[in-house]
Symmetry: C2
Subunit: 141 residues, 2 copies
């Protein structure tokens, strides 16, 4: 890819803007989070606090697993537990001044990377789909 | 990517072999499918028939949605319904003699592509992770 320098393209160029990113809040009950995930069709979305700061991600998998009791599936857990109880916090992110080179590194192990400003506010997400489209467009030039 | 010709690399080269691919059968109850998905941690896996032929894919999303009744979450649906009732059949696949160029096309809209032989038997899957690794390795040469 000698004519395609990922390190010169900012992640902000083709990211999905924050206003188009489905997300949930720390304090939402799991039942609300499951509704958001089911309605939007996404398997995982970012978790934000009331100031819009990135806190982690929550997945359908984590919510489903929270429903599994010792003997059977316990739906009540969805009303008792909150997003912050089952979210994943150790999630790699990228900064607004990072390049696609950094994003590619994150996207090898994660299906999306949250883009944060210097106050940790989420300004968008960069997805594997977008990265693959970028690479395909380059390939066909 | 002038020195990296995706059309010359066969999908079979870096696919995940069938024996390492988690899957379910057409006739399995949803409860079994949900267990497989939860244990393996995958959001979706291929559905095969008794001869190992590819039939479609089943996702955690589809199973969770099958649990949503009119008034509340109905866990009994998981025992009553089968994989074939909620699987997706209209899934693009690639053949053993296809190249990475074809796989890239499929992976833009799907997180994995099942690789089929000429009897429609699944011989492996090609994932977005693998494609991104290939592209990254090329990028760093
Ligand atoms: N409603 C829909 N319409 C069309 N295609 C859909 C779709 N939902 C999912 N897909 C397809 O399935 C892929 C995996 O989605 P998943 O929800 O597991 O994983 C998604 C999801 O966790 C997250 N994501 C994507 N867009 C989002 C958004 N607007 N808000 C919140 N999270 C988003 O980023 C991950 C990777 O997304 P990516 O686009 O690379 O890859 C997506 C996309 O190709
Ligand atoms: N147990 C695990 N260990 C480490 N990382 C994990 C993991 N489970 C998921 N991931 C990470 O999350 C991504 C999305 O997984 P998902 O299950 O939604 O989507 C997966 C899943 O639906 C399917 N898949 C991958 N490997 C599979 C396998 N061995 N058997 C069946 N399906 C598989 O292909 C999709 C794309 O996989 P990909 O590797 O590109 O991307 C994976 C991988 O980067």
């Amino acid at each position: 890819l000698s004519n395609f320098d990922l390190s010169t393209i900012p992640v902000t160029e083709n990211m999905i803007d924050a206003e188009k990113v489905a997300h949930v809040q720390l304090q939402n009950p799991l039942e609300h989070a499951l509704l958001v995930l089911t309605k939007t069709g996404y398997n995982a979305v970012p978790v934000l606090d009331l100031d819009g700061k990135f806190c982690g991600t929550i997945s359908k998998s984590a919510i489903v697993e929270a429903m599994f009791g010792l003997e059977q599936i316990e739906v009540d857990q969805l009303y008792d537990k909150k997003v912050e109880d089952v979210m994943e916090e150790d999630i790699p992110t990228v900064r607004i001044d990072d390049s696609l080179e950094k994003a590619l590194h994150v996207l090898i192990d994660h299906s999306f990377a949250c883009v944060l400003d210097h106050q940790d506010k989420m300004v968008g997400i960069y997805t594997r789909r977008e990265m693959l489209k970028q690479l395909r467009n380059e390939y066909y030039q």
